[in-house]
Symmetry: C2
Subunit: 237 residues, 2 copies
């Protein structure tokens, strides 16, 4: 027997979007005339696609995201490969696959990437997306197709680890931000509270967070000082 004579490889992207409203994931709603029902409701799934024959893995992930959001240059990080032989063999998933693939029964191994975008500035708004695509709060994601719920969980854990070990918060914030926004980001992503004074003490030690000569405007309370990230000073620790 020839090994893996009919085996497909895809990338799946967990695109995290953040704004003052929380952490969201970009999900695709399977079309009405093609979806299978899970408890009578249409299922969503992560954006993903089979990789092209001469395409790198990260390039494939970039392509998938660009096609959906028209945005380039998003932070992307591979976090895990999923290769359970039965991961696309569930009845509800095959029904959907039959409607979109020429070879719906073939095994698919997928490589998971997570991406980060800020939804603050006038970045990718759902409106500019292809239809059937939406931002869903990470805490309100229902059952997804295939093994996409585990992939999402893997992505969340990878994001948390990455936030604690690398300086990536600027990928999720507007160019100018307040320390409260920064703290909210950490609290949302890591799902725990920080003491305000201790948090600010730590931020002052980060040389890549620099205060601007500018304050928040249009708020009906004491305006906060604005900060920005100095990309030159982001150590790779």
């Amino acid at each position: 027997m020839q090994p893996n004579e009919s085996l497909h490889l895809s990338v799946d992207c967990v695109l995290f979007g953040y704004d003052d409203d929380g952490l969201k994931v970009l999900l695709i709603n399977q079309k009405e005339d093609t979806y299978a029902h899970a408890q009578g409701r249409p299922m969503s799934q992560l954006p993903g696609d089979l990789i092209l024959i001469d395409e790198g893995l990260e390039a494939a992930a970039e392509r998938v995201l660009f096609e959906l959001t028209q945005v380039n240059g998003v932070y992307l990080k591979q976090f895990h490969a999923y290769g359970d032989p039965d991961r696309v063999k569930d009845h509800k998933d095959r029904t959907w696959l039959r409607s979109v693939r020429t070879l719906p029964d073939q095994r698919v191994i997928t490589v998971g990437y997570f991406g980060l975008v800020s939804l603050h500035d006038h970045s990718p708004q759902p409106a500019s997306f292809a239809g059937g695509v939406s931002w869903v709060d990470v805490n309100e994601v229902g059952p997804l197709a295939f093994d996409h719920n585990s992939i999402l969980n893997g992505a969340i854990e990878a994001l948390q680890t990455q936030l604690e070990t690398h300086h990536i918060s600027f990928e999720l914030l507007p160019k100018k931000f307040t320390l409260s926004q920064l703290q909210d980001l950490y609290e949302t992503v890591l799902d725990k509270k920080f003491d305000k004074r201790n948090f600010r003490k730590n931020v002052k030690k980060m040389s890549h967070v620099v205060p601007l000569d500018e304050k928040q405007q249009g708020v009906m309370h004491k305006p906060a000082q604005l900060f920005s990230f100095n990309p030159d000073q982001i150590e790779n620790a």
Copy 2:
């Protein structure tokens, strides 16, 4: 164009072996009549294989290692997928591939796993392996085939991270070990020195390292107390 109509998927295994002599990797020497020369010398490579059509990724890694070492149940962890379209297209690598594959020119994506075995007890000795397989000190690995040097580097980093964040040292030590052996392990893998007294202070806080009623024997100096790991107490932190 059909996407990835002829694309192969493999696993590559970085099997780390440890004993008082240092940290080693299991390498395969390409056979004399098939290898390509790099600067006139035969190349080595990581053990790996195409995955079978109904085989999970980790199962494939287990199979590869079992075929080489006859050992089952080794600790295995996936760390990265490598999918550069040109990763097997180097001239020296194609020469070798032509001698062992029916379709040598096809693109291969590979998923990297690292594994851990102790070489202390009478575990997998090179002698019990298939010919052409050997343990090489991680600091003395020369140029490998394909992108296997980067895969090895990725594995080393993943191992270091894992050792600092999870309790995996027992996978690399004999069942009964001294605190000096434990410290040597940390120093070897993390490539830095620890203070003996401080190191032991920390170990005493680890509830899964338990002292035995037994001492080292056959050494010509003060015998050290032996310890073992209590698997029940290994927290997943």
